[in-house]
C-alpha cells in the first residue's frame, strides 16, 4: 500500500509558549462581556429562554388525540415494527365503538429512541408526531421509558397546527355511512 508522508510544520516560539493564543482568547471573551445593548447579548438564559426550533426538528415522539379527545392510535403496531432501535412497545386492548382497538400500554424507551421519525412516517392514523421536546432527563432507566400518559401529555405541546388534531377521515366516514345505512352508529364517531 502506498502512502504519503506528511511532515508536521515546526511551531514558532510564540506558538510553543501558548500564551499569545490564550490572551487572544481572553480578549475575545472580554469583548463580548463588555458589549452593551439588548441586541448585543450573546448568551441565552436557558432554561427560561429557549431556542426557536425549525419546523422540521425531531424531538421526542408523542401521541395525540383528535378534536373529540379520542385516542387516534389504534395499536396497529406498525411504529413498533418499523422502529430501528426497538424503542416502542405496545400492548393493544379492545374498546367499544367504531374503532375497535386502542393501546393498553404504549411505551417509548427514550434511552433507545434515535429520533429518526419513522414512527411518525409509518403511522396510518396520524397518531404519533415528532415533537420539539428535547429535554430528556431522568435519574433511572425506568424513568426514561415514557409511558402512554406522558406521551399524551407531551402531545399537548404540539397544539392544533399542522393537522395534528384532525381525525383520520376514514373513521368519520365509516361512522356516518353506517348511520345512513341503518347500522349501529351509537358508539363514538
Amino acid at each position: 500500500m502506498s502512502y504519503v508522508k506528511v511532515s508536521r510544520r515546526e511551531l514558532t516560539l510564540a506558538e510553543k509558549l501558548y500564551l499569545p493564543s490564550i490572551l487572544a482568547g481572553l480578549k475575545n471573551t472580554m469583548s463580548h462581556l463588555l458589549r452593551r445593548g439588548d441586541n448585543e447579548i450573546t448568551t441565552m438564559q436557558y432554561p427560561e429562554e429557549k431556542w426557536d426550533l425549525p419546523s422540521y426538528y425531531r424531538g421526542v415522539p408523542v401521541l395525540v388525540k383528535d378534536e373529540d379527545e379520542r385516542e387516534k392510535c389504534v395499536a396497529c403496531s406498525l411504529c413498533e415494527f418499523v422502529c430501528p432501535p426497538r424503542a416502542i412497545s405496545i400492548i393493544p386492548k379492545q374498546i367499544e365503538g367504531v374503532v375497535e382497538k386502542a393501546p393498553e400500554v404504549f411505551d417509548i424507551d427514550m434511552l433507545r429512541c434515535i429520533f429518526c421519525g419513522y414512527c411518525e412516517e409509518v403511522c396510518p392514523e396520524q397518531a404519533i408526531f415528532m415533537s420539539k421536546e428535547y429535554e430528556i432527563c431522568g435519574q433511572t432507566r425506568e424513568e426514561l421509558v415514557y409511558p402512554m400518559d406522558k406521551l399524551y401529555e407531551l402531545g399537548k405541546t404540539l397544539g392544533t397546527d399542522g393537522g395534528v388534531k384532525d381525525a383520520p377521515k376514514k373513521w368519520e366516514t365509516l361512522a356516518r355511512e353506517q348511520g345512513q345505512q341503518g347500522l349501529a352508529s351509537d358508539q363514538d364517531a
Binding site: S77, F81, E100, Q180, Q181
Partner: protein, 552 residues
C-alpha cells in the same frame, strides 16, 4: 383408472398428472401457485371467488377460466402469467375491494391476509367506485371462540363448506341477496361444533377471527415454532405462536397423515397452563413438615437417597404426557431402582370421528412401548391404596382428583414428585419436588395413537431454574449410577437404539417435520412389517413437499 395420466402444458412446461386433477392442483404440484381464495385442498370446489383465473387453450383458441374447477385434459395448454389472465385477476381484486373496509390497522388478519397479499402483488392503486361503501355488521359473536366481521368477508364460503363437510354440522350459510350477502349462523344460534376455530384459520381474509387471540399481537411479531399438540393421543401438528415468552396462539400445521389441516378447539386453546401462577421455578425439599426451596444438588441428592432406600418397594406413576426420551430415562431409573410397581394415569378427552381420540394422554403409545405398566404380580395405579408400599415416584403426574390415593401417598415415607406446576399432591405428600417443564418448553418426541413418532420443539423458556424433564431425569439416572447425564433430548433418542432396535438410527432431526411411524405396543414387530412402514413413509413425505399453509 386412477393411475391414468394426462399430459398437458403449463406455462410452456409439459407435465403429466393423474386424470381428474384440477388445473390449480397441477400448477401447485409444479411448485408454482395460482392466486386463490375459495379453493382449499381439504374442501370441495366452490369456484366463487374467481381470482384463480388462468388462460387455457384447448384447441379452440384461448379463453380465461377459473383453474380450481377445471380438470386437466390431454393436450391442454395453460398460461398462468399471460396478460389476459393477470388482467382478469386484477379486475376481480378491484371488485372484491369495492366494499372492503380497509381497516387493516385494527384487523388481526393483517400480515397473513390474502387480500393484502394479492393487493400488494397485483391490485390497483385506488378504487374507481364513487358511491358509499356498503356497510355490514362488524364484530359479531358467532360463538365464544369466533368473531365475525361481515364487511371484511369476501363470501368465499370456505367456512360454510368446512362446517358442512369436515365438522359435520351444517351451521353456517349465506343469507340476504346481492351486495347484502353475508355469512350467518343457521337459525340465528351460535356455532357449536368442536372444530369451529378452523374456520378462522382457513378464512383467507379477516372476516372470522379468534376471540382468544383477538388483538393480542400482530402476527408478524410472533415466533412460530412447529410442534405437536399435547392434549390427546392424535398428536395434531401445530404451529405455536409466541411472544414475550408467552404462547399467544396455536394453529394446526398441515400433516396429511395425522390431522390434515385441522385441529380441535379445545386442543388449540390448551396452552394456558404455561402461564399459570403456580409454575414451579425451583426444587423443593420437605423440612420439618414444610416444603422449602433447595438447590438442585441438594434436591437431587435427597431424591436419589429416597429412591435407593425404596428399592423394589417403590411405586412409580410415570406420566404419559412425557416425551419418549423422558419415558426411556424414567424406565432406566425404575430398572436401576428395581421396582415392578409401575403405571401411568389414564386421562379422558372427548372422542369423535374426526380427530379427537378420547385418550387425553399424548404419549400413551410411547408409555406402552417403553413398558410403563405394572410387572407380573405388581401393583398398578388402581391397587395403590391397598398396596401398602412406602415410597412413591410421581414422574410428571399428580393424583389431585383421587382422594383415596392421595391419602395413601400421605402415609408414605418418601414421595418424589416432578412436574411443572404446584399440585395438591405436592403440597400434601411430596418429600422432594423437582421442577420440570411443559411440552412447550422442551425438545422431544410423542408417539401418537397410530404409532407415529413426532417431534415437539420448545417455543418458550422455562421459568426460574426449572429443567426440562429429560434433563432432570437424566441427572437422576446418572446419580443412580447410570453413566453420564445426557446433554440433549436428541442424545437420549440416539442412545435408545442399543436397547430398542426399532429405534436404531433415529434422531429428532430424522423424524422430520411430519414424523415417522413407530412399531406399536409391547409386541415386537417383525423386520418385514417395519420395512413396509418405512416405505410408505417416504412416499407420504414426497407428496407433502408442496404444502398449502394451514393458517393461510
Amino acid at each position: 383408472m386412477a393411475d391414468e395420466l394426462v399430459k398437458l402444458t403449463i406455462d410452456g412446461r409439459e407435465v403429466e398428472v393423474p386424470r381428474g386433477t384440477k388445473v390449480i392442483e397441477a400448477v401447485r404440484d409444479m411448485g408454482s401457485d395460482v392466486p386463490h381464495y375459495c379453493w382449499h385442498p381439504g374442501l370441495t370446489v366452490a369456484g366463487n371467488c374467481r381470482i384463480c383465473m388462468v388462460e387455457v387453450d384447448m384447441g379452440r383458441g384461448r379463453q380465461t377460466v377459473i383453474s380450481c374447477n377445471l380438470d386437466c385434459s390431454p393436450g391442454m395448454q395453460v398460461f398462468t402469467q399471460s396478460d389476459p389472465a393477470k388482467q382478469a385477476r386484477q379486475d376481480v381484486m378491484e371488485l372484491l375491494l369495492i366494499n372492503h373496509p380497509l381497516d387493516c390497522p385494527i384487523c388481526d388478519q393483517a400480515g397473513e391476509c390474502k387480500l393484502q397479499e394479492y393487493s400488494f402483488e397485483f391490485g390497483a392503486d385506488g378504487s374507481r367506485f364513487e358511491f358509499p361503501k356498503v356497510h355490514k355488521p362488524k364484530h359479531v359473536d358467532f360463538s365464544e371462540h369466533v368473531k365475525f366481521d361481515a364487511e371484511r368477508c369476501i363470501l368465499c364460503t370456505r367456512c360454510v363448506r368446512f362446517c358442512d363437510e369436515i365438522a359435520g354440522e351444517d351451521e353456517l350459510s349465506i343469507v340476504n341477496r346481492g351486495d347484502r350477502n353475508e355469512i350467518a349462523v343457521a337459525r340465528g344460534g351460535e356455532m357449536t361444533n368442536a372444530y369451529q376455530l378452523n374456520t378462522v384459520d382457513i378464512c383467507p381474509v379477516g372476516a372470522l377471527t379468534s376471540t382468544d387471540f383477538r388483538f393480542k399481537s400482530r402476527v408478524w411479531f410472533l415466533k412460530q415454532t412447529r410442534s405437536v399438540c399435547g392434549s390427546c393421543s392424535r398428536g395434531c401438528n401445530t404451529t405455536v405462536g409466541t411472544r414475550w415468552n408467552k404462547v399467544l396462539r396455536m394453529v394446526p400445521a398441515e400433516n396429511d397423515d395425522v390431522n390434515q389441516w385441522w385441529m380441535c378447539d379445545a386442543g388449540r386453546l390448551a396452552f394456558k397452563h404455561t402461564a399459570a401462577d403456580e409454575r414451579l421455578g425451583a426444587p423443593m425439599v420437605r423440612k420439618d413438615g414444610k416444603l422449602v426451596e433447595a438447590s438442585w444438588d441438594e434436591a437431587l441428592s435427597a431424591a436419589v437417597e429416597g429412591l435407593e432406600a425404596a428399592g423394589d418397594g417403590l411405586f412409580a406413576l410415570v406420566s404419559a404426557r412425557l416425551t419418549n426420551e423422558e419415558l426411556f430415562l424414567a424406565r432406566g431409573i425404575l430398572d436401576k431402582v428395581g421396582t415392578q410397581h409401575v403405571d401411568f394415569k389414564p386421562r379422558t378427552w372427548p372422542k369423535d370421528d374426526l380427530l379427537r381420540t378420547g385418550d387425553g394422554n399424548p404419549n400413551a403409545a410411547g408409555a406402552r412401548f417403553f413398558g410403563i405398566a405394572p410387572g407380573d404380580g405388581a401393583h398398578g395405579l388402581e391397587a395403590l391404596a391397598e398396596s401398602g408400599l412406602k415410597a412413591a415416584f410421581l414422574c410428571g403426574e399428580d393424583l389431585d382428583e383421587r382422594p383415596d390415593d392421595l391419602a395413601a401417598l400421605e402415609a408414605m415415607d418418601f414421595v418424589l414428585c416432578t412436574g411443572f406446576h404446584e399440585t395438591e399432591t405436592m403440597r400434601r405428600c411430596a418429600s422432594v419436588v423437582l421442577p420440570g417443564v411443559t411440552e412447550f418448553e422442551k425438545d422431544g418426541s410423542f408417539t401418537n395413537i397410530d404409532g407415529r413418532m413426532q417431534r415437539i420443539q420448545p417455543s418458550l423458556s422455562a421459568p426460574g431454574s426449572a429443567r426440562p424433564d429429560w434433563k432432570l431425569l437424566g441427572q437422576l439416572l446418572a446419580r443412580l449410577g447410570g453413566g453420564e447425564a445426557p446433554r440433549s433430548a436428541d442424545q437420549v433418542l440416539k442412545s435408545m437404539g442399543a436397547t430398542h432396535p426399532e429405534l436404531e438410527g433415529l434422531s429428532l432431526g430424522r423424524l422430520g417435520p411430519l414424523g415417522k411411524s413407530l412399531p406399536q405396543g409391547e409386541s415386537p414387530v417383525t423386520e418385514g412389517e417395519n420395512t413396509v412402514t418405512a416405505g410408505e413413509n417416504t412416499v407420504t413425505e414426497g407428496e407433502n413437499t408442496v404444502t398449502e399453509g394451514a393458517s393461510a
